[in-house]
Amino acid sequence: MDASTFLIQCLNAVQYGLLLFLIASGLTLIFGIMGVINLAHGSFYMLGAYMAYALAPLVANTFGGGFFATLLVGVGLAVLLGYVLEWAFFSFLYHREHLQQVLMTYGLILVFEEVRSLLVGDDVHSVEIPAGLSGSLPLGEMMTYPVYRLFISGACLLLALGMYWVFKYTRLGMMIRAGSTNREMVQSLGIDIQFLNRVVFAAGLAIAVFAGMLAAPVSSVYPGMGDTVLIICFVVVVIGGIGSIRGALMAALLIGVVDTFGKVLLPQAAGVLVYVLMALILLWKPSGLFKAG
């Protein structure tokens, strides 16, 4: 592998790592911060991708909006959906054991899969890259690099910084972190924990949908796509250290490197590398790389 190919592979690794963080970011909220084992995270991501596909024509002929208008509409709907879902199915689960949440979210996966099949059918679709970003830059003498992937990486970095800033430096962030560590204490301080949970859950779902919509032009839209990202998202959150945004970003980049170079250098073992990485990290530091925050 000569120098230029190595550099391109590094770019691929970073780009996949950032994409992974984007997809897993919703989970860092619901699972990482709130402690809800949300198996339906993959379905939220799939919901986003299908929204990008299904909403585009509606938004286009209602008020002529393009990709970004659809994005806004989609995220808005997601916040509403998250609010309702939390109220209906999760508000009474916080005091019950984790496994009840596993059972509830397992049911949600099945329901989301079938509602998608009923509404949109089972065919494979794709979403147009927004006009301004559909170009690509030359990369080495043979390849070109799509501008849209760079845009996604940028959006992901912005999202990471935004989440980190909200949680570290704002009152809302502080309340949320306090709520996740000691629910009763926060309640006794007069903070409406019910509302707080609803906000965080809605935000978690909205970010997962946002990730789905943003990545749709690259990932394409097909049945069962949520299933393929579910496990890797949990790996990202857990390796990073549950509740740590910074940790999730580091973990995503680390997985990006291991997965990318694993495929090229150790193809026969490519399937197991990410899991070997997770096992090693958790056995070396049994609660992830970074502490919460």
Partner: protein, 399 residues
């Protein structure tokens, strides 16, 4: 409540509850002897959920179309369908097949898409000597090591499209080719077929890339391809993976410099999702759009009229599965239990398929023309015949 009454009540309640759970299973079905004019029970075991759901629907539509064209009867016997969703899950396959064979006593089994499930079906069909027609799964073993007088296939073996493209590239004088696919049976078998023909024709496969199934992050391997600079790339992907690979390949700028070739599933049923990234791609498959076969025209017309959408290769394979069944039934005037006559008739027959007439090999796999197709305006236009009447070697078949 004294102790005795409490225990008696508990025993009664639990027997009742446990009994209720068992009830649905215990209905002993009368073993229907099959007089020739009784209903013909066709067991459709196809994927109705998950990633292959659209393929399952297409196959069923194709099969039903032929039956409705015959007025809903095959050699005098009214056709009744019994459907089971195989969920493309091999660990549930044997029970799903048992449901059709032992509970519903179907006369013929039709299925499926996922080759792991098809392998399990083939084993049960062989053990229970039930007629099985495979409308898609291309696993070589189904008409290879697992071949049997009562097992037929109306689609292809993974080896065939791969082998045909190998011949095409060898004839074109291409010297160095890299291959890329998922690390699973279908991918390996397609690449093996390609390599066999390509190297026989003087070419060399310089690099065999594969990635774990169902991983769809191709960037790393696309960069590897750019570094190896082969003359061309052969690939095998289907469904969502095919859509993403073709788009990533174009986005990485390789489409201009390194031509991409693949088995037909790369662009079948995925063209509108792939958009112009698929424009101009060459693929090989036993079916194509714009065939000059008269049967194809009438098939497409009827299909579009009945189902309001364009047929694809899966619909054709479903249609031909019904044809095979009809031919066998005609020869045994509706009695599926005469396995030998059924097989003999089908082996001798020339099936008038929308893809063009084809016959079944000794191992019951289609001996068929493999077309070379090129994508043009969201259609796989037939541009020539890659290999005439290609017969799968059926390695390991002792029939």
């Amino acid at each position: 409540m004294d102790k005795f009454r409490r225990t008696a009540l508990a025993l009664g309640a639990s027997l009742l509850a446990a009994g209720a759970l068992m009830a649905p299973m215990s209905a002993a079905h009368a073993q229907a002897t099959a007089p020739t004019n009784a209903k013909l029970k066709v067991g459709l075991m196809l994927p109705y959920t998950g990633t292959f759901a659209s393929l399952g629907n297409a196959i069923e539509n194709g099969f039903r179309l032929y039956v409705t064209e015959q007025g809903g009867k095959l050699s005098g016997r009214e056709v009744e369908f019994v459907k089971v969703d195989d969920e493309s899950d091999p660990s549930k396959a044997t029970d799903n097949v048992n449901k059709l064979v032992k509970r519903d006593n179907v006369d013929v089994l039709v299925g499926t898409v996922h080759s792991g499930v098809a392998m399990a079906m083939a084993k049960v069909a062989k053990e229970t000597n039930t007629l099985l027609i495979v409308p898609n799964a291309g696993a070589d073993a189904v008409t290879g090591a697992m071949c049997a007088p009562n097992i037929f296939r109306s689609s292809f073996s993974n080896w065939q499209p791969g082998y045909a493209m190998g011949e095409v590239l060898a004839k074109k004088g291409v010297k160095r080719v890299a291959t890329i696919t998922w690390k699973y049976a279908a991918g390996d078998e397609a690449v093996r077929g390609f390599k066999e023909a390509f190297e026989k024709g003087g070419g060399t496969v310089v690099k065999e890339l594969n990635l774990p199934f169902p991983n769809v992050e191709f960037q790393a391997l696309l960069t590897d391809i750019a570094a190896t600079k082969p003359d061309a790339v052969f690939t095998f992907f289907a469904g969502g993976g095919a859509v993403k690979f073709v788009k990533d390949y174009a986005a990485a700028g390789l489409k201009k410099s390194i031509p991409l070739y693949g088995s037909g599933f790369l662009t079948d049923g995925t063209l509108d999702a792939q958009g112009d990234a698929a424009e101009g791609l060459f693929t090989t498959l036993h079916y194509a759009d714009s065939l000059s076969v008269p049967k194809d025209k009438s098939f497409r017309l009827n299909y579009a009229k009945t189902f309001k959408l364009q047929p694809d290769v899966y619909a054709v394979q479903g249609y031909d599965a019904a044809q095979i069944l009809a031919i066998g039934l005609k020869a045994t005037n509706g009695d599926v239990s005469k396995k030998a006559e059924f097989a003999a008739a089908v082996e001798a027959a020339k099936i008038d398929s929308p893809r063009g007439a084809f016959t079944l090999s000794k191992a019951h796999n289609p001996v068929q023309d493999i077309y070379l197709r090129q994508v043009e305006a969201k259609e796989n236009k037939m541009v020539g015949i890659a290999t005439k009447a290609l017969n799968d070697p059926a390695r390991g078949c002792k029939m």
